[in-house]
């Protein structure tokens, strides 16, 4: 083998010289080229040729051919590995083909000529072509290739395609991780597969590497989703029909469905870019939605929902575009779903329905909007517009109303503040704290269209409470007969703690503000008393007050009573050495994982109970029903508010809950009322 390699090496150098000669030779008038090659490779070809001839005469014809064939193949294999390697950023197929032309084919040509096997080609010079007539490419320096040589070329190229394909398939996982940098490798692979037709190899190998490397507890949901998106993008180059993508995507989707944070991660990926850079072209930090939008502007008609704009013309265009599925297509999966490879559609596919996606987005949007200091919602509007394009207007109408509330709030807020006489009347002085309406802004929501808001009791400081009263009164005057209902635990407060030797600024929730403001008049509180003063339940208080303890503002100690704590203000900076900057801009709510909006799961339970009586009613009428039928009937009837927008899986888990509550039972896949 070493020798083989040595040979190949030398051969390679020889070849370089030849190439140069050839280039010069091309200028020559007649076919003296061949002579040149003969001369250059004379020695080598003669040696091998002599051995071959001798072996042939001993009756080892096929064995000799096998020998030099396998030497050439192993050389080719080494060459492919050498050229392709682990670099996915360059096309290599072309150079491999060039090399096949330049090296092994030249050698074979010379050898066959030496052996006298191929001189029949000269007799065909008049233009009679071999059965493999279409010469795959031109043969530098070989005017009329023999049939034997053409066969060799096809063999070598097939081997090269297969070798490169196997190499790339083996590393497909890394290639997709590198996507889009690895685009050239994907293109090579696409060409190889078109030639070899071994797509199923790709599917099997890729699925097993996914299982081994990605779909494990160690991978974060974001990583998996990123790889999923890259897989979609990369594979749709290789296979525009999406058949293999479907096979490969299924295990990823299945796995992701089992993760609790999947929907949340998908929504975050879709909607959270750094934002605010509308002019940027292909920013790396763009939200996925932004990117998808660029894609769909480039492609024509990639609307997610077929039904939205399926007029007759579109249907006709679709019909005209129809092509039969590749033979590998799984006939059990509708070809309509496969026809369009839509990244967003494939993301929705993981979640189950676009309504669930929208619900999760709505909760995240609510959280975001409720924690805003200003009314700046430009990036949210942009995201919503993009969602509208992909999901249809009706599904995001509630989100639109939420954004509209912010726009209205900004206007109303300005009106109210402009119309109220300033300091003298509404400015109040309480507990040494100056507050005027200047400091108050409000977001006024149409609560029917927002996710359920977590209501918490809270006594806010009297001075602020008075401001809220004035504000609400003014609202009522401007918008008669509408009234305001404050959600006092919601919102954000920017405050400054003023100590003798320092000032510190914090951005906190109203709950935190109410707590710390109690320490102005009294430097030490027991948790029971503080809970009573702030109107917060003791356990909540003990949890929320940790924020101030972690900031070194308060210190907690056990009280006389075992379940009572004493909190005292820490007035000495030196003991805790705080850094001011670090405490600024921190939203305490986020830190503690406190949410002002009920999570999707909590809402689901609540929402489903509306349908409970409906389901019981149906089962009373029909006796028994299968899951599908219950689902479809609910879909049919519950279209108005609250519309039934749950997925089959959600319904199933709800019904399972009813079974555990012994309201229903299930036999043979049918649900019955529990007698």
């Amino acid at each position: 083998m070493d020798e083989d390699y040595e040979d190949g090496h030398r051969f390679h150098i020889d070849d370089q010289k030849n190439k140069r000669n050839l280039e010069i030779g091309e200028m020559d008038v007649d076919g003296s080229n061949r002579e040149t090659i003969f001369l250059k490779n004379n020695y080598l070809v003669k040696n091998i040729g002599a051995v071959v001839r001798d072996l042939r005469s001993l009756g080892f014809t096929s064995m000799t051919e096998d020998a030099y064939a396998s030497a050439i193949f192993s050389l080719l294999k080494a060459k492919v590995h050498n050229l392709a390697g682990d670099d996915y950023r360059a096309l290599v197929l072309g150079s491999i083909k060039d090399w096949i032309q330049a090296v092994p084919l030249q050698f074979l040509h010379a050898l066959l000529a030496y052996l006298g096997d191929s001189f029949d080609c000269d007799s065909m010079s008049s233009g009679l072509k071999s059965p493999l007539a279409s010469r795959p490419s031109c043969y530098p320096g070989i005017d009329f290739p023999s049939e034997g040589l053409v066969r060799w070329q096809l063999r070598l190229e097939y081997f090269a395609y297969e070798t490169l394909q196997d190499l790339r398939i083996g590393k497909l996982f890394e290639i997709i991780v590198d996507y889009p940098d690895s685009y050239p490798a994907i293109q090579d692979l696409k060409q190889c597969l078109e030639y070899t037709g071994q797509h199923s190899k790709l599917v099997d190998s890729f699925i097993s590497s996914l299982r081994y490397r990605l779909l494990t507890a160690g991978a974060s949901t974001y990583d998996i989703l990123h790889q999923y998106v890259s897989t979609i993008k990369a594979l749709r180059i290789i296979d525009p029909t999406g058949v293999f993508l479907e096979a490969v995507g299924e295990p990823i989707r299945d796995y992701l469905r089992g993760r609790k944070d999947t929907i949340k991660c998908i929504v975050t990926m879709l909607t959270d870019g750094p934002g605010g850079n509308p002019s940027g072209l292909g920013n790396a930090g763009d939200s996925l939605l932004e990117e998808l939008n660029r894609d769909s502007e480039n492609q024509e008609s990639t609307d997610y929902d077929d039904d939205i704009n399926s007029d007759d013309k579109q249907a006709w265009i679709n019909a005209e575009r129809w092509e039969p599925d590749p033979v590998e297509a799984d006939p059990s999966k509708g070809s309509r779903n496969r026809r369009k490879i839509d990244v967003l559609g494939m993301m929705v596919n993981i979640i189950g329905s676009k309504d669930q996606l929208v619900n999760e987005y709505r909760v995240m949007l609510a959280e975001k909007l409720l924690n805003k200091f200003d009314y700046d919602i430009d990036s949210e509007i942009r995201t919503l517009e993009l969602l509208k394009i992909h999901l249809g207007e009706s599904s995001i109408q509630k989100c639109e109303i939420m954004l509209n509330d912010l726009i209205d709030s900004k206007r109303t807020n300005a009106n109210i503040k402009a119309s109220l006489p300033q300091p003298s009347l509404s400015g109040s002085k309480l507990g040494g704290t100056d507050v005027s309406l200047d400091i108050l802004d409000a977001t006024i929501i149409s609560s029917n269209f927002w996710p359920t808001i977590q209501a918490e009791s809270l006594n806010i400081p009297a001075s602020v409470d008075q401001l809220l009263c004035d504000y609400a009164k003014r609202f009522h005057e401007i918008k008669t007969p509408r009234k305001l209902l404050w959600k006092k635990n919601l919102g954000t407060v920017k405050l400054e703690l003023q100590f003798e030797d320092r000032n510190m600024q914090f951005t906190v929730t109203p709950v935190h503000a109410a707590i710390i403001m109690q320490f102005q008049e009294q430097t030490s509180w027991t948790s029971k008393n503080l809970a009573a003063a702030t109107g917060i339940p003791v356990d909540t208080l003990n949890r929320r007050i940790n924020f101030w303890i972690s900031k070194g503002i308060l210190a907690g100690s056990a009280g006389s009573d075992s379940d009572d704590h004493v909190f005292t203000i820490v007035d000495d900076m030196n003991t805790n050495g705080l850094i001011h900057e670090s405490s600024e801009g921190l939203l305490a709510a986020d830190e503690e994982g406190e949410r002002s909006v009920a999570s999707v799961e909590e809402q689901l339970r609540k929402e489903m109970t509306v349908y409970e009586k409906f389901i019981i009613g149906m089962l009373t009428n029909f006796g028994s029903m299968a899951l599908d039928r219950i689902h479809n009937t609910l879909k049919m009837f519950c279209v108005a508010e609250p519309s039934y927008d749950k997925s089959l899986q959600q319904l199933q888990s709800f019904l399972t809950g009813l079974i555990t509550e012994e309201k229903l039972e299930m036999r043979d896949g049918l649900y019955f009322l529990k007698k």
Partner: protein, 89 residues
Amino acid sequence: MKVKILQWHAVASWTWDAQDETCGICRMAFDGCCPDCKFPGDDCPLVWGACNHSFHLHCILKWVNSQNSQASQQQPQCPMCRREWQFKA
């Protein structure tokens, strides 16, 4: 220690403050909007009749118009109490 509030961004919800939760005609929430409207609030206001019953403006107008267009001589009535419908001043 003193606490100075620099900014307080509060959250409130609005309500029409009607006696009922839902409009007697479309059965949608008063604080929502009628089935023909996209946005609640200013875009889909409530109106009160002289009898003090309230409806979405768009809903009661539809009813009043449908009554007027009928050949019958009768005046439009409040859907709730059948008293003659008059918009409250």
